[in-house]
Symmetry: C2
Subunit: 369 residues, 2 copies
């Protein structure tokens, strides 16, 4: 058993493995390939649990992350981010070692990379299905045809269309997710019909955790690339992707002050530990996580909320009868609003049994690194 | 000159050194000691610039940070955080090497530490002057007297009262900061009067950057502990602590897509690079930073805003005439909403001249590390 002295991220391995299994089973039932996004856990160890469940290909969010997982045995990697042409050298170096897929969303990127790449690279064209973050407009087939034309007779090989329907994150219920997804799946299927004569092997790939968790049928989709489901969190819980028991990580934090007169507890847990994501509860009050008690093998149901957060301080609000039992030096738990952020901020974690789980070194890729 | 291929945090050293000099001069004029908070820059190199300006004592936010700076030559360190009694062993180890000051805000902490510490440690009692984050109620002198009583004849030595008036961050103008500060300075002076007979050397310490930047007189204060002013940012600019030219850091980011039809540019810059802080502009629209152009020796005035942010994507909104000149593969700059967060997320930086500046390794302190 781990002795907790400082903010420590705990992982309940049985919950995490059940989340993995459930998504693997769903992909099998729906006859789609699961190519999980590893940006949430960023961990070679957790990656191995996916491998044990039969997963063969992965998705990442940066060249740096692709490098990290390639060095941990992964040979089929999709970088789900509009390619940065300034980084062509490292992409080419990666392509020499792995079956690499990137996103090409513009003529400029196609033109630049066909000149720079010495190794074959597959590419998706990312489709903007309404989130308006990145991707090309599916109603503008000219740009798609132009990218395909430019890539011919080069090291760039068309893999298919990819979308991250980020606007499902605005949904307040599973029904709303199904509604949003219905619209973009229709667009996707017509795009496939339009281009599959010329590209009979083209793939249709879809990214977001709410859709992948909630949709009951995925007809016409070839691969799903969800990430967050490995841990889940309160944002996904709010959408209806998971129940509270499926949240697999919990930040253990020491109590440094108790203020019964205002029902508040101060813990060592700031945005450097949790990340700064907040969420509104049913009454519209913003909070930064649910408070739980640590138990012998996991943690309790929520007993309060994190109501304020600064660099290292967290302020918890708890019911009167709970406050009475809490003392300076106790350790409480926090269920994350956004698991990707909390895992990224902490940079490593421990199973509730005390086993240390390494993650990718956290410094983001940077010139000169 | 630095060749930028990935998100890279730039520091304009002349601006940073001018910010340091200005605060050093203000402290000298006001006859208070400047004990700068190093949580913003977390850098031994930037720390050396303070040393060169005559600074002898520093403030940090965690035991880990105290350790890092003690190993970089600092001998007088205040940990401005309610002490975590579970961490007594490492505090004691630090106290053997440096003139250490901690916060004791409860009887429990005083009781626990007087038993555990083998080396003398000075302590402040943190006073809650209205921010309600941490600290004791100044109108409840019983708790103060009780902490003082418990610490007698132990390794705990009373240094004075400290406050971080975090509620000045809610001010919308310098006048409002002065109003808030006026109230807490009055409380502070009466507290000093009350306890100075028994403790003639007691110090009054004050922490926040808005007060330290804006207040014209600091009568009755012994030391100021601001941190953010070393870089400044858009939050401080909104309060009136600084002008835009005084912001010393800028995140250089590669352009990966341009969408002229909606006046948007996609850059490789997500919350893993910037942090997730947002701010509302005059019209109440939330944004995640000002966009600037990089110039030969610094950067331009703002030309747009970051309107959306995910793990690695940033979406910029720019005027039409600006968009026309921007291409995939360009590098733009982002002025941070919250400099502490951006510096922490990036974990290292470069001067605009290309000199690499190391920071404390970023993983927060964690059990077992």
């Amino acid at each position: 058993m781990l002795q907790i002295i400082r903010p420590t991220l705990l992982l309940h391995r049985p919950t995490c493995e059940a989340n993995i299994r459930k998504m693997v089973n769903k992909a099998e039932e729906q006859k789609v390939q699961l190519i999980p996004h590893f940006k949430t856990h960023q961990s070679a160890t957790v990656g191995d649990w996916f491998k044990a469940a039969g997963v063969k290909a992965i998705t990442v969010t940066s060249v740096k992350m692709a490098n990290y997982f390639s060095k941990n045995g992964w040979k089929d990697i999709t970088i789900a981010f509009p390619v940065n042409i300034l980084d062509a050298e490292q992409i080419d170096e990666l392509a020499a070692r792995v079956d690499l897929k990137i996103f090409i969303n513009s003529k400029e990127a196609a033109n630049s990379l066909k000149e720079q790449l010495k190794h074959p690279v597959k590419f998706y064209i990312e489709i903007d299905v309404g989130d308006h973050r990145s991707g090309v407009d599916p109603d503008d087939p000219d740009i798609i045809s132009e990218i395909l034309r430019l890539s011919r007779n080069s090291n760039l090989h068309f893999e298919g269309f990819y979308t991250h329907a980020g606007h499902t994150y605005n949904a307040a219920s599973p029904e709303e997710v199904e509604q949003i997804a219905g619209a973009f799946l229709k667009k996707f299927r017509s795009l496939k019909a339009e281009f599959s004569e010329e590209y009979p092997n083209l793939k249709i790939a879809m990214g977001d955790t709410p859709s992948c968790s909630i949709l009951k049928e995925l007809e016409g989709i070839d691969s799903i690339h969800p990430g967050n489901f490995v841990y889940y969190d309160l944002v996904q819980y709010g959408i209806g992707s998971n129940n509270l028991e499926e949240i697999a990580i919990c930040l253990a934090v020491p109590v440094v002050a108790v203020h019964p007169e205002r029902q508040e507890v101060i813990v060592h847990s700031g945005w450097v530990h949790q990340g700064k994501d907040s969420i509104a509860d049913a009454n519209g009050n913003t909070h930064y996580g649910f408070v739980v008690k640590l138990t012998a093998d996991k943690w309790s149901a929520p007993i309060g909320k994190v109501i304020k957060l600064s660099q290292e301080h967290g302020v918890l609000h708890l019911p009167k009868e709970r406050i009475e039992n809490i003392q300076v030096g106790d350790v409480l738990g926090i269920l994350p609003v956004h698991a990707c952020a909390t895992a990224h901020m902490m940079g490593k974690l421990f199973t509730t049994e005390g086993e240390k789980i390494q993650m990718m070194p956290r410094n983001p890729e940077i010139s000169g690194s």
